[in-house]
Subunit: 231 residues, 2 copies
């Protein structure tokens, strides 16, 4: 079985694309009522243009049991060679983290998930231990309030480290957690300078860059700042 990174690279090569399309159905903004049908139409129209799809679990959960059903139908509509990222930003500790990893990888069958780093390494190990799956660590968000906590200037409590924004420590930790080669980052497109620094700290890790479009991030600036060491 190929790993997430291999599957991502193969799809990117096949479609000559670095584009990940989010499947975040908001019924108030959709031209048709049926979520699964809406997503299927998107997938049919774009499956030769993307390197991955990313359903955002919040939108499905907000629709109750119908949302669960729509997500199941959506996953069936995606060609099996295109990797699917379950965007859920899960983060919790101990056996709860194990349960979330099981839900995302075994129950839903995602190739990759987004996670929240707040709990530290042991909180993410249940995800990282799925060596064939991808784990994208939420590092710097694209919203206006991101600065409030993520930009605090931080140093290690016992000394012996630089003084850096908190989100850079997240990137440094993520690189340490990458012993299985299955870790990447999520960095919002609205802050290309921060993205450039993070890319320098993690030259080879995949970076998912949301925020182009509705959030007004720049595609050109983000691509230039985010492209990996191999171009």
């Amino acid at each position: 079985m190929s790993t997430f990174v291999e599957k991502l690279q193969a799809a990117a090569q096949q479609n000559n694309s670095l584009l990940c399309i989010g499947l975040d159905p908001d019924p108030r903004l959709m031209p048709i009522a049926d979520v699964a049908e809406f997503n299927q139409a998107i997938v049919e129209a774009t499956s030769d243009l993307v390197c991955a799809y990313k359903p955002n679990l919040g939108f499905y959960e907000s629709l109750g049991p119908a949302g669960t059903e729509a997500l199941e139908q959506t996953l069936k509509a995606i060609p099996s060679w295109i990797p699917v990222i379950g965007d859920s930003k899960r983060g919790d500790i101990g056996n709860t983290a194990t349960a979330y990893a099981k839900a995302m990888f075994d129950v839903w069958g995602f190739d990759c998930v987004t996670v929240n780093p707040f709990g530290g390494q042991d909180s993410l190990e249940p995800f990282l231990n799925y060596q064939d799956k991808g784990v994208l660590v939420w590092c710097r968000s694209s919203n206006p309030g991101a600065r409030e906590l993520q930009d605090l200037i931080a140093t290690p409590p016992l000394g012996g480290g630089d003084s850096r924004p908190f989100y850079e420590w997240v990137a440094i930790s993520a690189a340490k957690w990458n012993t299985n080669g299955n870790v990447g980052l999520v960095v919002g497109a609205t802050y290309p300078d921060e993205l450039r620094t993070i890319r320098e700290l993690c030259p080879d890790m995949p970076i998912l860059i949301p925020g182009i479009g509705a959030q007004e991030g720049s595609l050109e600036k983000s691509t230039m700042a985010g492209i990996d060491a191999h171009g």
Copy 2:
């Protein structure tokens, strides 16, 4: 309709209890196979002993559709005067946060949720705007790896602030976010000294203190450090 805090205080007074029981069913550890039946037995045996119940969504999600069904049945079994905290540590931005708030409060009907502070104030506003509902901000976790990021010593990027552990900044932010009087904190019982400092920063906010039991936190130390300004 009473607010979460009023409902919590009424239940605490009725049962003379500050105990919140987690409903975190792990089939490998359960004496019977049926999750809903197991939870119903716990609720029947303890509904005169608690001030709240707290189902942890990870465990239900890990069971797929059967888990959704079991959570529905569990919620029906809890007397309506006892508040229910949906422990899901959700955290995301923009319309995703709105979707998660809708899922937790409107679809599931929880009286209160746990959230992750990483995205900052605007990422939590969709939850905070439910003025009758409670929002418990994950501030300091009880796992060994908590120190990795939560204990970094941090200062505001523009100066003008103290040098404090990151988790204290989370507590300070949570107090700022509490304009509707519906914010509380989650602080692990395994670190009573940290808990005492956080209680000093937020003298009146409810603090949920997980980690007694399996995680070997001390009930006595935690109660003494965590009790609010009114005892």
